[in-house]
Amino acid sequence: MTTKTPKLNRRSFLVGTAAVGSGLVLGLKIPFGTSVVRAQDGSPEINAWVVIRPDDTVVIRVARSEMGQGTLTGLAQLVTEELECDWSKVTTEYPTPGQSVARKRVWGDFSTGGSRGIRNSHEYVRKGGAAARIMLVQAAANGWGVPASECSAANSVITHKPTGRTTTYGKVAEAAAKLPAPAAAEVSLKDPTEWKIIGKPVKRLDTLGKVTGAQVYGADLKLPGMLNASIKECPVFGGKVKSFEADKVKGMPGVKHVVQVRDTAVAVVAETWWQAKTALDALPIVWDEGPNAQVSSATIAETLKAGLDAEQAFVRNQNGDVKTAIAGAAKKVEAVYAYPFQNHAPMEPMNATAKYTPERCEVWVPTQNGEAAFAATTAASGLPADKCEVYKINLGGGFGRRGAFHDYVTQAVLIAKQIPGTPVKLLWTREEDMVQGRYHPVMQSKLVGALDDKGNLTGLHMRLSGQSILTAVFPQNLQDGRDNLTFQGLDPSGDFAFGYSVPHLLIDHAMRNTHVPPGFWRGVNINQNAIFLECFMEELAQAAGKDPLEFRRALMSKHPKHLAVLNAVADRAGWGKPAPQGVSRGLAQMMAFGSYVAACAEVSVTGGDKIKVRRIVCATDPGYAVNPAQIERQIAGSFVYGLSGLFMEECTVKDGRIEQTNFHTYDSMRIAQMPKVESIIMPSGGFWGGVGEPTICVAAPAVLNAYFAATGKRIRTFPLKNHGITMV
């Protein structure tokens, strides 16, 4: 079979338009005096979410960012469900943050992180679709001179039931756009049992351009007259530029400018990026490394270790009297775990393109949060919001690096500001990306469990000691100094609820911050919390002489949804039945980002240190599963990210800087190491959980527990490469 390559994928056309013109990408024309808002091609906007072209094409506006996780398709499914339009005619586009400001944030939050693309916007985007449908049906009814109640809509076709007359969305769009929006009370949503496209594994809307090379990423942008920049920040966080010898490289091929960026970075701007990078490599720079130049991984680990037994700690989850329970235990079990700094390392290195004039500043950037990129643009340019615009480009991976942080946007604008009128594309080297990350925070944990004489868990103290992301990034979100995010998966209730009932429980955090900037790394704090908790659960089960599944089950009767996913993986994997020769199993469960997740891993170990992860059965209950095919892919992908982290990834600190500079020292899984992933998607309804992140956290503890079952060895510091253990 063959498939014709369409001339141009629509989305790459839109981006291409952005690439050649420096005007508005979508160019909404907001009129004065009439009520119709038009897209750039003149098609009427029914409301902010929906534009309908005369040929019946439905353009759905999506404010969240697509970085591979499929949110663009999922959100379009939600709008389509209520709009009752023909899915084969749906395309999507990004509104810009500047338009959002001008239209009082009509599209809501742009932020795409914390697995919230769908779970935090499902309601208003569906209402956007429903409101547009009501207007389209009303317009048709008006045209026929009949009551709207006699008309129905399906597949972009409106039918007048008594007479059988039909018309299409494309034909009535103009008239519909002139109608007033329905009152909020009139816009009701379908019952989930009536869904036709939500819950279906429809194909993604954005695949073709990714297999032909046509999709334009930020790194690929070309603007007329554009120059290219390569940059180096002081490798010691908190350090500054002391001096640099621009004259040494100014004569090199293509070099146009050598500029300082704030007091912390130096950039070379050249005709091509390769010329800029080559000159920057040759540029002598002297750094004032500042007060952190003595910090190392060892000194950081000492600081965290001191927190394990510190008197003062932020308490998040507590019941009973854990001290007394531990003091009176028939058996006390204790363990200390540690989790390293890790880098996001998305395949596409950080980049942003900026054009500055005193009248206007424009930025093109792959970002998880268009509004945050916009804020960085206004701040760095010093221009008011109505003189700035940001155009979002699809991302070559994000994983949290491109959400809260727009350091590369700030840099690009500050470089462009020194060359007014000339667009400048700033692209980081992989090396810069590795040493200027916003790293997964370091954390240690001391766990102490109390067992009674029957082997029941009566008390558990879980002390976390380490870095707080919120303190560094969003201090306004701390609660009396406490960083609740540190406790993801360990909360008393909510989206990150702890899944066990322990009579005497204390979970607390001794905050120990470092000079290494922390960030949100896919899954964020559930990665280490799941390892700490779920490995320790098995240590307790072992000490109690109980089966790890039975030991957990005894603590989970009040947590039926946690238990349901755990039971599902145990059943599917055949827990309790003999495994194939040479295969050992391990379990883990957690709740995160509103979804319940569990995994059972099967591993074979050879020579004590070569682990083959053969199979992982994973279950997730995200409440509603908008697109099961994409959820399966997110599960498998999250395991690649999580297991790469477990086995291979650590950023170590020496002389105040990160030592790893590229994939040779910061490795990532390859296809040969990929386990077979079996997904059980079991939405129980009534809530909206996340998809992109939750499952990541169960892969590592399930594998560690299986490794223990195989070898009797309990590993408590990571990554596994530090123990000579490799993934085969």
């Binding site: 991976g397 990210y641 390859r670 992933v677």
Partner: protein, 149 residues
């Protein structure tokens, strides 16, 4: 000045001969489907075919590519018809972010030319590209599907 033959077209590129082929393709010829991921032959994002062989173009100087037949992702489809690997990628919905996929597809296309029916072991040995989104399960399925096509 070097003369490169890319996707059947000859271009004169005016670069220092030590410039990696990747950057000549991206910045001089203007074909941006071939990606930069590491610059050290570690990730495979920059994979192109040089005389039919999968080659990491980030470490091959332009001088070494002169006179060779170079194919990039943009040249894989013929007359508007997707290559069977691209077709299998679409059918199996392999890409997530897609950034690594041009290199992945070029590596797989070269593998299938050598071994039209690769075993899992063949795949494990010859496909060593990094995909941070973690599409490997779909990549493997799609390779087998392409081999059957």
């Amino acid at each position: 000045m070097a003369r490169l033959t890319i996707n059947g077209k000859t271009s004169e590129v005016n670069v220092d001969p030590s410039t990696p082929l990747l950057w000549a393709i991206r910045e001089q010829v203007g074909l941006t489907g071939t990606k930069y991921g590491c610059g050290m032959a570690l990730c495979g994002a920059c994979t192109v075919h040089v005389d039919g062989k999968a080659t990491r173009s980030c470490v091959m100087p332009v001088s070494a590519a002169v006179g060779k037949k170079i194919t990039t992702i943009e040249g894989l489809a013929t007359n508007g018809t997707l290559h069977k690997v691209q077709k299998a990628w679409v059918d199996n919905e392999v890409p997530q972010c897609g950034y690594c996929q041009a290199g992945m597809i070029m590596a797989v296309a070269a593998l299938l030319k050598d071994k039209p029916k690769p075993t899992d072991a063949d795949i494990d040995k010859s496909i060593t590209n990094i995909c941070r989104c973690g599409t490997f399960q779909q990549v493997r399925e799609a390779i087998h599907a392409a081999a059957k096509a």
